[in-house]
């Protein structure tokens, strides 16, 4: 088991380094860092001095090593566009995105599993077919349209919810949360629904497919042949076996949720990392792009690790128990 954990950790580090390499390459080869940081009027001597200071004349591996060292310290350089340290920007915006992502994932998981189980058990029912059709429409609706639609309905027509922003947020140390204020909570509803919707349809279809698959297995057939009641078969047997792939895939999706937040944050003017990233792409603000990339990679790697451990806990076949000697 220790070997399993160590192996996962090692893989995680390799991935992070690979992404760092990509980020670093972006820095070095896309655009001119010096030109981005000084004005047009700077003399050749000034540029040369800056290049020297930035270490641009050092050999590639050395530069990369410095880059990684800086990363480890949380130093991402200065934003080309905003002139502020990227680190500060990150700290400001991370809580908004994480809060949004976590709530959306929870929403998607709870309702996705419930609906998935329902449509799997009641395969041919009217309600089940209706839900499946709606889910197909859901997959065909781009996230931004859902956001716009919700804003139009709830903010413009009904005036129940605010149409943009986070509302009032409470500061807890370096973290900010919108859950403790009324306006904060109201502001969260539509973005969470929008971001979570795609996830929900995905999870629902996955759970349904896995349940149907599980209900076709031999052990379910054998359970039926033993007279086990259908209710136990659906929930105790099929669902339990479904949970492993579902939870692992849903967990792995969390990184995607963070990235999908880009669209939702833009539509709702949510002050998170995603909105920051879009601006960075528009203005070719490399340090911010690189920092965002590293952050997303970190989230991916951590969720992968978490899911590996979870898988381990859920599936007894992995826990190193060996088969008895053949008889």
């Amino acid at each position: 088991m220790i070997a399993y954990i160590l192996r996962s950790l090692a893989q995680a580090i390799v991935v992070m380094l690979a992404v760092a390499l990509i980020a670093f390459s972006m820095f070095r080869f896309v655009g001119d860092p010096v030109a981005n940081m000084v004005g047009q009027e700077a003399s050749m001597a000034e540029r040369e001095e800056l290049a020297q200071r930035l270490g641009l004349n050092d050999p590639f591996p050395l530069q990369f090593a410095h880059f990684v060292r800086d990363l480890a310290r949380g130093e991402f350089g200065m934003s080309y566009r905003q002139g502020r340290p990227v680190k500060d920007l990150l700290i400001e915006r991370v809580p908004a995105t994480i809060e949004l992502a976590l709530l959306s994932s929870a929403f998607a998981l709870v309702f996705g599993i419930a609906l998935g189980v329902y449509t799997a058990i009641k395969r041919r029912g009217l309600m089940a077919n209706a839900v499946m059709s709606l889910s197909l429409i859901g997959v065909s609706l781009p996230t931004f349209l859902i956001g716009i639609g919700l804003i139009y309905l709830f903010a413009v027509e009904l005036r129940w919810l605010p149409s943009f922003g986070r509302g009032e947020v409470t500061r807890l140390g370096w973290w900010t949360t919108g859950l403790l204020t009324d306006s904060g909570r109201k502001s969260l509803i539509m973005p969470v629904l929008t971001l979570g919707f795609f996830q929900l349809t995905l999870i629902m279809r996955l759970v349904r497919a896995e349940m149907l698959e599980a209900l076709r297995t031999d052990y379910i057939k054998f359970a039926r042949a033993r007279g086990i009641p259908e209710r136990s078969i659906s929930f105790r047997h099929a669902l339990r076996n479904t949970m492993i792939p579902v939870v692992t895939i849903a967990g792995l999706q969390f990184g995607s949720v963070i990235a999908f937040a880009i669209v939702t944050e833009t539509v709702f003017q949510w002050p998170g990392l995603g909105a920051l990233f879009i601006q960075a792409v528009q203005f070719v603000d490399i340090p911010v792009m690189a920092a965002y990339l590293m952050f997303v990679a970190l989230v991916f790697v951590l969720t992968n690790l978490g899911v590996d451990l979870l898988y381990f806990a859920l599936d007894p076949r992995l826990r190193g128990a060996t088969a008895a000697p053949a008889r």
């Binding site: 031999d218 052990y219 359970a223 042949a225 086990i228 128990a321 008889r327």
Partner: protein, 330 residues
Amino acid sequence: MTTPVLSVRNLKVEFPTRRGTLTAIDEVSFDIGPGEVLGVVGESGAGKSITGTAVIGLIEPPGRIGGGEVYLRGERIDNLSQEAMRKIRGKRIGMVFQDPLTSLNPLYRIGEQLIETIQTHTTLSDSAARRRALALLTEVGIPAPETRIDNYPHQFSGGMRQRVVLALALAAEPELVIADEPTTALDVSVQAQIIALLKRLCRQHGAAVMLITHDMGVIAETADRVAVMYAGRIAEIGPVRDVIKAPLHPYTKGLMGSIPSLVGDSDRLTQIPGSMPRLTAIPSGCAFHPRCPRCFTPCPTFRPELQGEQKSQVACWLYHPFPVTAEAVP
């Protein structure tokens, strides 16, 4: 005459498909007496498994029972509600499948699966159920049952798993056990043990057995009577010794001739030319007629029914008065 444990009459199972209705088994009839072992033998696709599945009521839609009746100790069971049938499964009819690895839920300990089965059909408390589970494990020959009962299926070898499966199938003391290819997925060395165990357990519990297999050797060892199936129909049925030593139906004869034997002077295995027809293309009249070396006038047109004295029956025009013209069909 005692009531047979199982009585199947003209059972028909159909599968509606886009291109019409396929008949998987067609007018199958047989009886199994109390404590008797009936072997059901035939090639892949002959309909043996479907017969077993139909008896226990687990045919999956769109398949359905298209005709005939199934009686368990004289009571009709094929037309019961889902819930009534569920109560019969496990309690009065048990079934064992081919692959013990996939028959057991990998996420639950075998003790949990045993106790669940026991408590479904009895009102035993948790501790009483556990004691019964331990007793069952001992009976099927699992060593150190107090420890093994908390193991997961993957911690057992193939033969051990099949023993656990047998324990599960017999947990509620059914009167009939349907064993669908119980040894096919096991090592040859283990097969004999499992078959012997099955036979002994059923004898001890007084259960009748429907043993489905394509392995004639297993039948010869274990069964009292045997039914030979071909293309969804029964070709011949009778006491094992009779059918093996003196087969009546040309198909059975061909089957016996194609079994390699350690004793005897046959230097060539006889092969039946051709292959069993697919469900979509079953020949008219007697299904075997295109491949039959004794095929004659009535065979391509008229379908033979199982006829004969009580014990040995055969569906072949060689042994019964045959019709010559259409009007003479019995």
